[in-house]
């Protein structure tokens, strides 16, 4: 099978996706991505030169609503699911 993506590229993509793959996962995903990417090459059989892309099946334009303040989830509820909070803020590990 043609190599579409190397292990090194897989490592780079994992980094972009904020994933940490084990050695074994990295090997398996490289193999599977190569198989899937080779398959999707099928699309190149089609000449799509001036075909416009479809991003949504139902075309809607400019969906606006009245600019009104509505009620929303209160702070306590919003923080209830947080792995760590001080009741006012989400707490995260040191950034700098």
């Amino acid at each position: 099978m043609e190599t579409k993506i190397s292990r090194q590229e897989v490592r780079h993509v994992a980094d972009l996706a904020r994933l940490e793959l084990t050695e074994q996962e990295e090997l398996r995903i490289t193999e599977q991505m190569n198989s899937i990417l080779s398959y999707v090459d099928k699309l190149n059989e089609l000449d799509t030169g001036d075909v416009p892309p479809t991003t949504h099946a139902i075309q809607l334009e400019n969906v606006f609503r009245q600019d009104l303040a509505l009620s929303s989830v209160d702070r306590k509820m919003a923080l209830d699911n947080a792995p760590q909070s001080d009741g006012v803020n989400f707490i995260v590990p040191k950034v700098l």
């Binding site: 940490e20 995903i29 991003t55 099946a57 609503r65 989830v73 209830d80 699911n81 792995p83």
Partner: protein, 491 residues
């Protein structure tokens, strides 16, 4: 007849005539769940206590549900749909302890209609899969053969309806996740037009494809459940502001004179012969009912899998970036900095299929590859959509199989993701085009596995595909039966 094997509309008649109490109904289902769910594993979070409390309130007359067709009707909800205060996992470890602070719009509609919730149902993690084997918690088993998958990703919802563990359920369909498990489990499953049902409170997988829809014991139930959940919602800017017709009213009209197209590309090479013959027989039945049958072509069908498995992972990789261990979801405890906290939490929380799709999606959207993959797939999506529009210029609706094979064995395709993806070949194109589709049971394979007939219609013509499905169902009472394995277990 038992209460648990009745349709929603039959139960409704009994409730309205006050022949049964809500408690009678709820107890019948809870007993059934206790008996069979340990074998089937349909539910991730059962809600028996809350359901009993709801039933009590209903019987005391403290709920104002009027003549709603769902008053006191016990339903099961796929665990990707938020319910305030009830754990919603999406079949993932990363959301193992997530308690939504609000209701999805569909949950809200069902509550107002007086429905009672029996539990949240199992699914492939983040709805990514075709067998429910990708659930981080448990595989669900097919009630027709416990060694087989119920289909996916709404496998828990479909199996629960088939096994009479609920009166009806909600699933979601991104590439076939309602229609295929409905077909595998011998029940009715409807994927509405994209935009027909609000996605607010539905945990996002692929936002341009996801739709919520009913899974039910018969077509009339699908019509009445859709009527309750459909409609415009200001909180989902992709929901469409179009009137919701009375779908039940539309069922009764004959299909005489309708032009029904058979897409020749849907009888694919490698199709199980029993699927082909069963669906052909169903087409014959529609002809006997007075429909005109004609062959049509959807020439880009064979590109559907490739386009879908670029577009859906691309959207998923973006949607799933929100699982960062900060606002909700799993966080590893001992990360030394923010980036390693993200990386390790996500790597621990996501299962293999989700990681695979995030990786694929991130790759096809990354610098230098966007045009070759994502743009190309979006252009092919246009061609697939045009195929349908051209077909609907010649015919009113399309008849086809749902899947090339009946339910496969647990583990059979688990090691080869591409083979699993290819089994979606007949449901993905309609998802990419955003058109509605229904799976209605149309017979059995030689080893007694259910086979579904897929009916596809133009955008917003749920009324039409429901009517065809209903007329077919009414004409084929000999095809209705229940999984034997469960009656064997009882005695």
């Amino acid at each position: 007849m038992h209460l648990y094997d009745m349709t929603i509309h039959k139960l409704h008649d009994l409730v309205m005539r006050k022949e049964v109490s809500a408690m009678d109904i709820v107890s019948a289902f809870i007993e059934r769940i206790e008996q069979f769910d340990p074998k089937l594993h349909c539910f991730l979070t059962p809600l028996a206590d809350a359901a009993i409390e709801q039933a009590r309130q209903f019987d005391q007359g403290t709920l104002d549900t009027g003549l709603s067709p769902l008053a006191a009707i016990p339903l099961a909800i796929k665990d990707v749909i938020c319910m305030q205060g009830v754990r919603t996992t999406c079949g993932s470890r990363i959301l193992e302890n997530f308690i939504p602070p609000y209701d999805a719009t569909v949950t809200d509609h069902l509550k107002k209609a007086g429905a009672i919730f029996l539990g949240k149902t199992n699914m492939d993690e983040f709805a990514m899969g075709s067998s429910t084997e990708n659930s981080a918690y448990q595989p669900t088993r097919n009630p027709w053969d416990l060694n087989r998958v119920p289909g996916g990703s709404s496998g828990g919802s479909a199996a629960a309806v088939a096994a009479d563990l609920c009166a009806g359920s909600l699933g979601t369909d991104t590439g076939g996740s309602i229609r295929q498990p409905a077909s595998f489990c011998g029940v009715v499953g409807l994927k509405p037009t994209y935009g027909r049902v609000s996605r607010f409170g539905l945990v996002a997988f692929a936002s341009s494809l996801d739709q919520i829809g009913p899974i039910t014991k018969d077509v009339e139930d699908a019509a009445l459940l859709l009527h309750v959940i459909a409609g415009h919602d200001g909180r989902d800017s992709t929901s469409v502001d179009q009137p919701v017709p009375d779908y039940r009213e539309a069922l009764k009209e004959s299909i005489k004179g309708l032009r029904l197209g058979i897409p020749k590309e849907y009888f694919v090479e490698g199709m199980h012969p029993d699927v082909a013959t069963t669906v052909q027989k169903a087409i014959q039945t529609c002809q006997d009912l007075g429909a005109e049958i004609l062959e049509v072509s959807l020439p880009h069908t064979e590109y559907g899998v490739a386009a879908y498995y670029i577009i859906a992972p691309a959207e998923a990789s973006s949607n799933l970036a929100r699982y960062d261990g900060v606002k909700y979801g799993l966080r590893v405890s001992d990360a030394k900095d923010l980036i390693s906290m993200y990386r390790r939490s996500r790597s621990q929380g996501f299962g293999p299929e989700v990681k695979r799709r995030i990786m694929l999606g991130t790759y096809v959207l990354s610098a230098g590859y966007y045009d070759a993959y994502y743009k190309k797939a979006s252009q092919v999506r246009t061609l697939i959509r045009q195929d349908f529009l051209e077909a609907f210029a010649q015919c009113d609706a399309l008849l086809a199989p749902v899947a090339p094979i009946p339910a496969f064995k647990i583990g059979e395709k688990a090691d080869d993701p591409l083979q699993m993806y290819l089994s979606d070949v007949l449901t993905l194109p309609a998802s990419l085009a955003g058109i509605p589709g229904i799976s209605v049971p149309c017979g059995f394979s030689s080893d007694q596995l259910p086979i579904g007939l897929q009916i596809l219609g133009p955008h917003f013509r749920e009324d039409l595909i429901l009517r065809i499905a209903y007329q077919f169902e009414q004409a084929t009472p000999q095809l209705r039966s229940k999984p034997k394995i469960l009656s064997d277990c009882t005695r």
